[in-house]
Amino acid sequence: MRIAGVEPRNLITPSGIGELAAVVRELYADAKPFAFVGGGTELELGNAPRALDTVVATTACNRVIDYAPEDQTITVEAGMTVAAVCAVLAEHHQFLAFDVPDPERTTIGGAIATNAYGGRRLRFGPIKDNIVGIAIVRPDGVIAHGGGKVVKNVAGFDIPKLMVGALGTLGAIVSATLRVHPRSESGAAVALRNLTAADVLHACAEIVNAALVPTSIVAFDDGGERYDCVVVFDGFRGGVDEQVRSMTGIAERLQFDASRPSPAELDLLKERERNARREAPWRVQFGAAPTTLAQFLTKNDMAGIGRIYYPAIGSAILTGNDMNAATIERWRRALDAGTVVVAAMPLDARGAVDAWGAPPPSWPIMRQLKTNFDPKGLCNPGRFVGGI
């Protein structure tokens, strides 16, 4: 196992949260640098740690602590996989709106630490909107909680939000209380084909205009410069049918080729969306205002680059075999108002490419946060933004 290209000396898998805290406490006392790992589906993310002695896996902390279907919340240990949580929820016709690279492997803690998302973010919000409470093991081994078990709560600082996307640099996520959702009675999709990025954005604007409420809008490159865009609706049957009719009407008006994809085709596309996150040597995640991102995708040469495009979220994942430091640099210059994160790259590119790009203006506050949580700088040092 390598963490952003660096191989640790040891891998420890504590059997429970108490043991995990004890392990971390000891590493901290011994001044041994460490990092945390869940299912290991995003080990490429971030810069190479400056030092790494031990990797602590959360995977054996994998119990359901409390499931309250009537309250639509579940509290689980962070090493549970997303698929395992979903299996528990399915018994009560509920689900977790986490789109992750590999649900069978990706853990809850890992999904939170990497701020994983996919198409359903449009309807259900980012991961941070779906967490109501958290327990962490701080770098010094102390267990601390934030938030609670109820869906509405403003007592104390929102520690759960701070842990989302922090890549375990402020400690390990060891349990979380999550907001879950009722499964829909019905679902349907409309596929719009052979669109430019501008067309895709145009379709999104019309969807907003018509006050439709899609679950997801995901566009896939068609192998060339254009996109196939899939719009999914969920809900009660009548509402879904009505939205599909409206969507087809919009497509006709815009003279876009629209069809109803078969379930098999939808499964293939979903698989493609996931594969984009795990297979290519280069993976670059873009975030920008929807209009800015559409312009970027239009103006830059996208030949030979795999694209999963979330037009209404303002996000795109670009994958390929032969990107390099100069490509990344050019894209970063072209997209000045947004983020360009290199989520995976070949080992030999690591020296030349900063995974995050220039840190934001608030970085001094972030650095201070890191220093306060991890005064010795032992927890995943150097992996995060700006060398944090």
Partner: protein, 483 residues
């Protein structure tokens, strides 16, 4: 006083308040019973002026208490001795509307409702709708992570305020979160932790919010019940059936009485409880959801179910609900507002416990609250002219909070901890939890100059780390159960 002239030099004489009845306004916020006279109040008009005031206060060693509209109910804007209150009410410009990217940039003094009013003609709105939305400011909403009736479906301020310009404790102007419509920012989610930080981490001088398209249709349903038991059961059955209404509000008999007395709404007085509910979305979905909700209400034992005849009546119904706190004046000389949260399935037993606490104390308690997310607002009625009644009301309020904690809930769902509830934080969080929050605070404000005596039960300076390690109870039990 040298300090005053220095503040005047920054914000001008007309924006500096040092005496008289005007200063009295700033001695308290919406939490009654506590008043502290600030040394000076400044009302800056620009971000630069806010920054200069912070730097000056820092140089003078004056604590800083930020303030929005002063409608907060937990004493978050209560001054401390010798402080400067920095009020944001003069910064009320709408700076930018970006409809294609569903974003809007506003100054902190903009009144919550004015955001939606500004967007209404174009068919958009801002979702969080605290009952005080016609007077509370967006800056205050950010500080408190304000909620409101429609947060059940759409989320709270933290889900809608995505970026901000803040003035730090060093008097620096820093942008946090997403300003340009991008979905995420690099690094830690500072905006996520800033929202709801109750004025302890900085002063917000610009806010970027998400805006939403107005739904195709909204249907309002009003239902009455013999007692709060049936109404509470109806809420549980609607939520467990997977129906997601935009809002479900409950009012008990006393609350209905007060609302009817204060407004023209024609609700019956001989019922034990009422629910006011909105469902919204695409037309066919709304019809289906409304029918399913009505069936659930009926099955739970509703006496009467009706929908408003027109938009006018709908507005009136919601006005009645949102004006419920103020309406209490019709039935009681004084009242104490409580704000607690419980798991939604526990509404019925908790309301019974509250009724028992009230009757033991010989006081009346009216309940009007966000039932859909279990956010209770018991209004403890008392007569301040009778010696001891105010203290008794506060005591009942405290017991209600302990009840919420016992049922696995929280001491505040939307009003904040502020000054009022700092003492209860230790019942909800461990020392280690609170120390961890202090690590966050000290990253923003190491000298603790912002709102020094709020939220945390025991004042602690940055750099004070708790002593030797002691195992957490959950650690010993091999669970970390509270999440």
């Amino acid at each position: 006083m040298a300090a005053v002239s220095d503040f005047i030099a920054i914000v001008g004489e007309r924006n500096t308040i040092t005496e008289g009845s005007e200063l009295r306004t700033y001695e308290a916020d919406g939490l009654p019973g506590f008043r502290v006279r600030p040394a000076v109040v400044v009302l800056p008009e620009t971000t630069e002026q806010v920054a200069a005031c912070v730097r000056l206060a820092r140089r003078l060693g004056m604590p800083i208490v930020p303030r929005g509209s002063g409608t907060g109910l937990s004493g978050g804007a209560l001054p401390v001795e010798g402080c400067v209150v920095i009020g944001l009410s003069r910064m009320k410009a709408i700076l930018e509307v970006d409809l294609p990217n569903l974003r809007m940039r506003v100054q902190p003094g903009v009144i919550n409702l004015n955001i939606s009013r500004h967007l209404a003609a174009a068919g958009y709105y801002y979702a969080p709708d605290p009952s005080s939305q016609s007077v509370c400011s967006i800056g205050g909403n950010v500080a408190e992570n304000s909620g409101g009736a429609h947060c059940l479906k759409y989320g709270f301020t933290v889900n809608h305020a995505v970026g901000a310009t803040i003035v730090t404790a060093e008097g620096e102007i820093v942008s946090i979160g997403a300003h340009g419509g991008e979905p995420d920012t690099l690094g830690y989610d500072l905006m996520g932790v800033f929202v709801g930080s109750e004025g302890l981490l900085g002063i917000v001088t610009e806010v970027v919010v998400r805006i939403l398209r107005t739904p195709q249709a909204t249907r309002t349903i009003f239902a009455t019940f013999p007692t709060t038991d049936e109404a509470g059961a109806a809420v549980s059955s609607i939520i467990s059936a997977g129906i997601v209404p935009a809002a479900i509000e409950m009012m008990d008999q006393l609350a209905i009485e007060a609302i009817v007395a204060a407004t023209r709404v024609d609700w019956p007085l001989d019922v034990g409880a009422a629910l006011l509910m909105d469902v919204d979305g695409v037309v066919a979905e709304v019809e289906h959801t409304a029918d399913a909700a009505i069936a659930a209400l009926r099955a739970a034992g509703a006496i009467e179910i009706r929908s408003p005849r027109d938009d006018g009546e709908r507005t009136l119904m919601w006005k009645g609900r949102k004006g419920a706190f103020a309406a209490m004046g019709r039935i009681s000389p004084n009242y104490y507002v409580q704000d607690g949260v419980i798991p939604r399935k526990e509404i019925v037993p908790v309301l019974r416990d509250i009724a028992r606490l009230a009757s033991e104390a010989g006081l009346r308690v009216a309940n009007v609250f966000h039932a859909g997310d279990g956010n209770l607002h018991p209004l403890i009625l008392y007569d301040g002219r009778i010696p001891g009644q105010e203290a008794l009301a506060e005591h009942v309020g405290g017991e209600i909070l302990k009840t919420c904690i016992r049922y696995g809930g929280s001491i505040t769902g939307e009003h904040g901890v502020g000054f009022d509830k700092a003492a209860y934080m230790g019942d909800l969080f461990t020392e280690d939890d609170l120390a961890t929050m202090q690590l966050v605070r000290c990253a923003f404000d190491r000298d603790v100059i912002f709102n020094p005596n709020k939220v945390f039960p025991t004042p602690r300076l940055c750099g004070d780390r708790p002593g030797v390690y002691h195992p957490h109870a959950t650690e010993l039990a091999e669970v970390a159960g509270r999440g």
